[in-house]
Amino acid sequence: MIRVENLTKKYGEKIAVNNISFEIGEGRIWGFLGPNGAGKTTTMRIITGYLPPTEGRAYVAGLDPIINSREVKALIGYLPENPPLYNDMTVESYLAFVAKIKGVKGKKIKENMEKVIEETGLEDVRSRLIRNLSKGYKQRVAIAQALIHEPKILILDEPTIGLDPAQIKEIRELIKSLRKDRTIILSTHILAEVTQICDGVVIINEGKIVANGFLDELTKSFAEKEGVFLRLKNFGPAEKLIFENIEGVKEVYEGNGGVNIEWERGANLAEKIAKVAIEKGMGLLEMRSLTPDIETIYLKAISQ
């Protein structure tokens, strides 16, 4: 659905995005991660047709955002980093305006407006001036704006920034509920968001892609070890021996307040280990994967 080929963007001498390529399939939610100033916003702006690239090309549904500007822009719902709101308009008149300039016609304007107002929970503030809304509501209006023309593609630049934890959770649920047949790109600083919402990530650092792929693939490729961490009531040399005798187990050692069991790559013995632990009455208190979480992947990727 979205393809980027050898994309470079220079602002004068400064290179914001340096020869990046990636592809995002239809119906996927993809996360953009990276430190501030890494080039996430620039990449998104190029995909939306707001900025032309210096070199390389972007394709949205097979179309070039500069050459087929109108078609591409009609396909995309875009939430910029700074919510693009007119303070002197009411929520309703603002949404009606955006619907019109996005090419929604006639009765559909009203229909779509009702739909996004409901989806984003704006019923209570629909006739208030945007100027008088709280930050959380403003952000919701900005998200509603991106949805109003029922776009096939959603590009959200830090959709949960400036919201409180309860609102963040709501917006995440909203984004998840939006996926249906949409392709969504979202940039964020909150790593947990990525694991909760996204199918895959692109990690950008200093204008270059340092990691790209589905989350489970990345997890595998960034894994140095595979195994589980256990907390057990009864653990001694005898128990250690039992684990070591399971076929495929590489190493058993104590650490981090429990027992770490590593196995050969791809063995996946989690179920077997749990069964053994329970059958032998070791008192299983906790069990989790030793595979790296998104934070580990992220930090490793940007320090490469």
């Binding site: 032309p52 822009k73 910029p80 700074n82 305006f97 019109k100 090419g103």
Partner: protein
């Protein structure tokens, strides 16, 4: 066309929700009304003083005395008011970040510019039509000629449209509204007085500078002379202003 209307409606909404439109229209009417009243009163006194003398009374012409002066004064008020009307049109979009919304919507730059231009022209029209009330009294109690008044209003409208186009251009340069307004004033004043320099230059330049001046072309229309050359002059200045705004916006994208 639908897109242009959408932009125009939005701009008018913003103008009339904020006090901007009311303040500008109100101040304009206050000052132009003040001028009209005083000019008319002065004309009245003159009429009473010299009306008995048949020679002088034949010289007392309400179109020349009242309307001509009034149109010239009003043109100066427009020069002061219109850059304040247009300064926000692009500068504010840039400051608020809403230009990102406009430029990622399926709109052409021309549609955005023309939509904004029309919204300001509508406010100009409201201002000018409201001043038409003044003429009710002159027609009730006097017998002015209609044609010079109409060409005078046409002059104000064309002049105002040109001011708006130039203001739109200066607003597209910067995100600071004050800078946009000051650049607007500067440009308009320079074009106003450019013919003054014609005394100090050669014959060819004298011709060019005189033709470039807002004032020279306005004078004809106020006198009741409808010359297509003047109309074309104002339309070309208007188009040129809009064209510069278009170029500025497009150039910024590609930088």
């Amino acid at each position: 066309m639908r897109n242009i209307i959408a932009i125009t409606q939005k701009e008018l909404k913003v103008y009339f929700v904020s006090p901007m439109a009311y303040v500008l229209i109100g101040v304009f009417l206050l000052i132009s009304g003040f001028f009209f009243y005083n000019i008319l009163m002065y004309f009245n006194m003159q009429s009473i003083q010299f009306g008995a003398n048949p020679y002088y009374s034949s010289q007392l012409n309400i179109n020349q005395f009242v309307y001509s002066t009034y149109f010239h004064n009003t043109s100066i008020i427009l020069l002061l008011i219109l850059p304040l009307l247009t300064m926000r049109l692009f500068a504010e979009e840039k400051r608020l970040g809403t230009e990102e919304l406009l430029f990622t919507s399926p709109l052409s730059t021309w549609e955005i510019i023309i939509g904004k231009f029309i919204s300001a022209v509508i406010i100009l029209l409201i201002m000018l039509i409201a001043t038409g009330v003044y003429s009710i009294f002159t027609f009730l109690y006097g017998n002015p000629q209609l044609e010079p008044i109409l060409t005078g209003y046409l002059g104000l409208f064309l002049l105002g449209s040109a001011f708006i186009a130039i203001g739109l251009f200066t607003s597209s340069i910067t995100e600071n509204q004050i800078v946009a307004a000051v650049l607007g004033f500067g440009t308009l004043l320079l074009f106003w007085v450019i013919s003054w320099a014609s005394d100090n230059v050669g014959l060819m330049w004298r011709e060019i500078l005189t033709h470039l001046s807002f004032f020279e072309h306005f004078d004809d229309l106020v006198k009741g002379v409808f010359d297509t050359e003047d109309v074309i002059y104002y339309l070309s200045v208007t188009f040129f202003g809009l064209f510069l705004a278009h170029t500025t916006i497009e150039a910024k994208k590609w930088r």
